[in-house]
């Protein structure tokens, strides 16, 4: 019940943000300069107006449905996993855990670099959280590290960002880890 109420509240915030966004597009579009070649505000006004009309229509429809006690809301055109048979508390905990994992990976990339953060993340996620065996964990750590250092770094020449740690130490992990491969690779 608490989850359902929370979702309804979140939906209201989401709807409000969308409505404000459409209104802002129109106001900002009208304030944009007009030249003899046209105005950059044309597209935002066009989209904002259409958006606001359908947004208002949605809320009028919802209000009418509430008045008529019409519970059938139809189906959305999307795919989704159903968590109906799982306790809401577990869903909430795992949702937070998932966001935490993704956030930690991103933070790790910023602080440590892709070259260090990815194997550490995989080690924690696979070995500790998923309780996978060491051979599988190590195999994926090596595969992903090779992908980052050799395929992306040395072959595709992806410019990896300088992490906080790299800046502090004054080194580049890609240069250090990619050195042996640069000698072997023909390009």
């Amino acid at each position: 019940m608490r989850t359902a109420r929370g979702l309804i509240r979140l939906d209201l915030v989401f709807r409000l943000l969308i409505g404000v966004g459409f209104a802002y597009m129109i106001v900002a579009g009208l304030a944009m300069p007009r030249t003899s070649f046209g105005t950059p505000g044309l597209y935002p006004i066009f989209v904002g107006s259409i958006g606001l009309v359908v947004w208002l229509g949605l809320h009028v429809q919802d209000a009418l449905r509430t008045i008529r006690n019409h519970t059938q809301r139809g189906r959305i055109y999307d795919i989704a996993y159903e968590f109906g048979d799982m306790p809401p508390e577990l869903v909430r905990r795992r949702t937070l855990q998932t966001f935490g994992m993704v956030g930690a990976l991103m933070l790790g990339v910023w602080l440590l670099s892709f070259q260090l953060a990815v194997p550490i993340f995989l080690c924690i996620a696979l070995r500790l959280l998923a309780r996978a065996g060491w051979p599988l964990t190590l195999a994926w750590m090596v595969v992903l590290e090779l992908l980052i250092v050799v395929v992306f770094g040395s072959i595709a020449h992806v410019a990896w960002p300088r992490s906080v740690l790299e800046n502090a130490l004054g080194v580049s992990f890609q240069t250090i880890l990619g050195a042996p491969f640069r000698r072997v690779l023909p390009f």
Binding site: L7, L10, D11, F14, I18, G21, F22, M25, A28, F37, G38, P40, G41, L42, Y43, P44, F46, V47, I50, G51, V54, W55, G57, L58, R73, G74, R75, I76, Y77, D78, I79, A80, Y81, E82, F83, G84, M86, T95, T98, F99, M101, V102, L105, M106, V109, W110, F114, V118, F121, L122, L126, L129, A130, R131, W140, L144, I148, V158, A159, P161
Partner: protein, 517 residues
């Protein structure tokens, strides 16, 4: 470009070892991602991230190689485990899973693979055959027609959201709106960009937004559910089930050739129509087969092989047919096609009249790559199902962290900008909540992809024509009328398919159409 010359160029491009390897590599990735529920879309999105670093034929070869097998290998978890690999395999469960429980998984799978191959090749032949006609039609179109066509494309996709039509339209408008962020393409004026955030001058990164809205929530769903896809089955049991009944399956397909013909025809027509997604078509074809096949009312749902053949042949034909409006008009009719359109734009191709006139060889290349990949897929699935089946045994808790890493890598490598990672997290948060709150995401993505195209035609149309001129053009009137007919018809079909039971026999209700809150 001459039609035959385009075919020759496309074939010579495919014959190059690098491109051939890319197609085969893409096929391998597609086979694996189709067999893993919830991974097909993130897999394609990861490719978008790295596509800009590849030569055009290699990137397209990889993408088309991936596209073909997904709707063949997705029947593997559907039959073996009652879990659809993708939404297009939902109806396959109805008879495929009962067949597997009767120990006839081999029959269901081999029939499904053959039906898929026939469906895919027919769809590709139609794609190739229709292109010369499409070229003539799109050359008659001007800016007003393309503007209306783009708007109608987004609208029709939203309208078939059935009872949640207005939610779909709002989501489509949100997609069009976020495409406005960045420097105005005509006058160079920064829109909705704070001066202190130059990162936003080029607009929101297409790949990062798609990954965040679409792929990240899918993998999160997989992780939160944290079920072993193959729970209850050992790898030996999977192997035994698959090995039996291969020849019987092929014979069943040949025996039901008229059913395949009807299903493929429905799949192609539905594929060209905007908004009729794979999940809708899948149920529609299944329902059609149940009402037209002899005795099917009693046997469908209990393990009738015709209940596998009909949806499997149709969903592969749809896959190729959906490329027709994407390539000819630059208007994606489905979220998957929005991803392909993004890929074309990323590698520097502009689908629409220019592609058909100047780069017909690219269109032929796409068709032949799909055909090659389909043939390879069927061969591999028939002879290597044992290995592919083992992939479906991977636990979600092991799979999800790996996919997270790939998604983060794809988001970063698309523009080599670290700020794409916070954008990915934000888009992921929005996508996740849209999914949980019952907001349809495909219209948003289609709106975002089509937004810049619409803006260009909006400016040209309003600078060249008066509103009355624009709205009274025969082409515009025809498109509006067609869109209304399609929307009404598609809504009815969607409602009809909604009456079908949803994967009721499977142990996991995954990948199904979600009820709006």
């Amino acid at each position: 470009m001459d039609f035959l010359h385009a075919i020759r160029l496309a074939l010579s491009e495919i014959a190059s070892p690098t491109v051939l390897s890319a197609i085969l590599g893409g096929t391998a990735i597609g086979l694996i991602s189709g067999a893993l529920p919830g991974v097909a879309l993130p897999g394609l999105v990861v490719l978008l991230g790295v596509a800009s670093t590849m030569p055009v034929p290699v990137a397209l070869g990889l993408a088309m190689g991936m596209a073909a097998p997904v709707h063949s290998s997705d029947s593997l978890p559907a039959v073996m485990l009652g879990v659809p690999g993708t939404v297009a395999a939902q109806a396959t469960i109805m008879d495929g899973y009962p067949l597997a429980r009767k120990g006839k998984a081999g029959l269901a799978l081999s029939a499904g693979y053959f039906a898929s191959l026939i469906g895919a090749l027919t769809g590709i032949v139609i794609l190739v055959a229709i292109m010369p006609v499409a070229r003539v039609v799109v050359n008659v179109f001007a800016a007003p027609e393309f503007l209306v066509m783009g708007l109608m494309g987004v609208a029709v996709v939203a309208v078939v959201s059935s009872g949640a039509m207005l939610k779909g339209l709002v989501a489509g408008a949100v997609g069009l709106g976020i495409a406005a962020i960045g420097i105005d393409p005509n006058l160079g004026y920064p829109r909705f960009v704070p001066a202190s955030v130059p990162y936003l001058y080029n607009g929101l990164d297409l790949v990062t937004v798609i990954i965040g809205i679409f792929a990240l929530p899918e993998v999160m769903g997989l992780f939160i559910e944290n079920r072993s896809v193959a729970r209850g089955l050992t790898s030996d049991a999977v192997w035994r089930n698959i090995n039996e009944g291969r020849r019987e399956g092929m014979r069943a397909v040949l025996h039901n050739k008229f059913l395949i013909f009807r299903s493929v025809a429905l799949g192609v027509i539905g594929g060209i129509m905007p908004g009729l997604g794979q999940s809708v078509l899948d149920w529609l074809v299944y329902a059609f087969a149940r009402s037209t096949e002899k005795g099917a009312n009693r046997t469908f749902g209990t393990g009738d092989i015709r209940g596998v053949i009909a949806p499997e042949s149709a969903n592969n034909a749809t896959n190729a047919a959906q490329l027709i409006p994407t390539l000819a008009l630059g208007i994606p009719v489905h979220a998957f096609q929005a991803l392909y359109l993004s890929l074309f734009i990323i590698v520097g191709l502009q689908p629409g009249p220019r592609l058909l006139n100047d780069h017909l060889d690219v269109v032929m290349f796409i068709a032949f790559s799909l055909a090659l990949s389909s043939v390879v897929t069927t061969a591999v699935l028939l002879f290597m199902s044992r290995f592919v089946a083992r992939i479906a045994l991977v636990r979600a808790s092991v799979l999800a962290p790996l996919v997270f890493v790939f998604l983060v890598l794809a988001a970063y490598t698309s523009k080599n900008n670290l700020l794409d990672l916070p954008l990915l997290a934000l888009a992921g948060l929005v996508g996740w909540h849209m999914k949980r709150l019952g907001w349809p995401r495909p219209p948003l993505i289609i709106g975002f992809v089509v937004g810049p195209i619409l803006e260009r035609y909006l400016n040209i149309a309003l600078n060249t024509y008066t509103l009355t001129d624009m709205l009274t053009r025969p082409g515009v009137l025809l498109i509006v009328a067609s869109a209304v007919v399609i929307a009404v018809y598609a809504s009815r079909l969607t409602r009809a398919s909604a009456e079908q039971p949803l994967a009721a026999t499977g142990p996991v209700m995954a990948g199904q159409v979600q009820e709006a809150v």
